[in-house]
Symmetry: C2
Subunit: 146 residues, 2 copies
Amino acid sequence: MQGITGQELSSKKAEYLKYIHMQGDVVKTTEIAACFSVAPSTVTKALTEIAKAGYIEHTPYHGVSLTPHGAEYARFLIRRHRLVALILSRHGLEPEEACREARKIEQCFSKDLTDRMCTSLGHPMMSVCGEIEHDHRCCGSHGDRS
Amino acid sequence: MQGITGQELSSKKAEYLKYIHMQGDVVKTTEIAACFSVAPSTVTKALTEIAKAGYIEHTPYHGVSLTPHGAEYARFLIRRHRLVALILSRHGLEPEEACREARKIEQCFSKDLTDRMCTSLGHPMMSVCGEIEHDHRCCGSHGDRS
DNA sequence: TCAAAGTTTGGTAGGTATCTAAATTTTTCT
DNA sequence: AGAAAAATTTAGATACCTACCAAACTTTGA
């Protein structure tokens, strides 16, 4: 919970987790494979590891769903993505480009760095690719750091 | 020359190249190994590959030196590093932190993205960790794109 | 129930980085 | 010069990451 560094998952796995979060409920392996254009077995392997790390519940042949921890982590990943995209858009990139480039670089940004940039930007509500959710203790936005 | 993408070298190799550039002349394997706290053999292997890619001249048992191409590439790497650090410093990080964090994320920034951010920042002369050199055609700063 | 669809297992492959130990070359010192 | 010491390279391993395929397996739905 409080121990997020932002590098727990490889970038591909993080992408899978974000995708699962955005799909909501139970997600099938094949669906993910199709979306990312990789073989289903590649996804299964990644999913198994993500499950082992505690972010998802994997019921073979039925799909995966987020654990509470996974949901929290996914929210962080999405917030980070949107913050990075926002910063890029403020440096001359068109919205779509900003979102695309953000996907390439976001995995390098630690939780701490993300939170500090968030603060520095004044906890913006909107990015170029969606709303930015600022939950409770996300980055001191609501002063409950005690 | 014109084909820099920014991802030609892995981040470790890029660090070595920057180091070699900053040391000037001929650099010894052991010196690099000590600086990065890795075994000399690790450096030798990396150096061999960097040399194969044409960025350095490696004379076994005597050290390495930059080729003209390597020098140009190193200048890009350093400019990119300083631009990224500058941006981070403008988002609430102290100079030293900005430099340290920049080292972690800079390898993700393409040449194109770097140039655009450079333009957007108005081709700044100074960053938090040194001057930023804007050579001839670096990013359209001197209008000689033809 | 049985075939098609979907999923997992196990093996292969390429990339990065690292280390230890042994062999080689260079340097230093007597 | 010659030998010991230091520096460097090579070889052989390990360890991760990503990705893929073929074959075996499970589920689903007609």
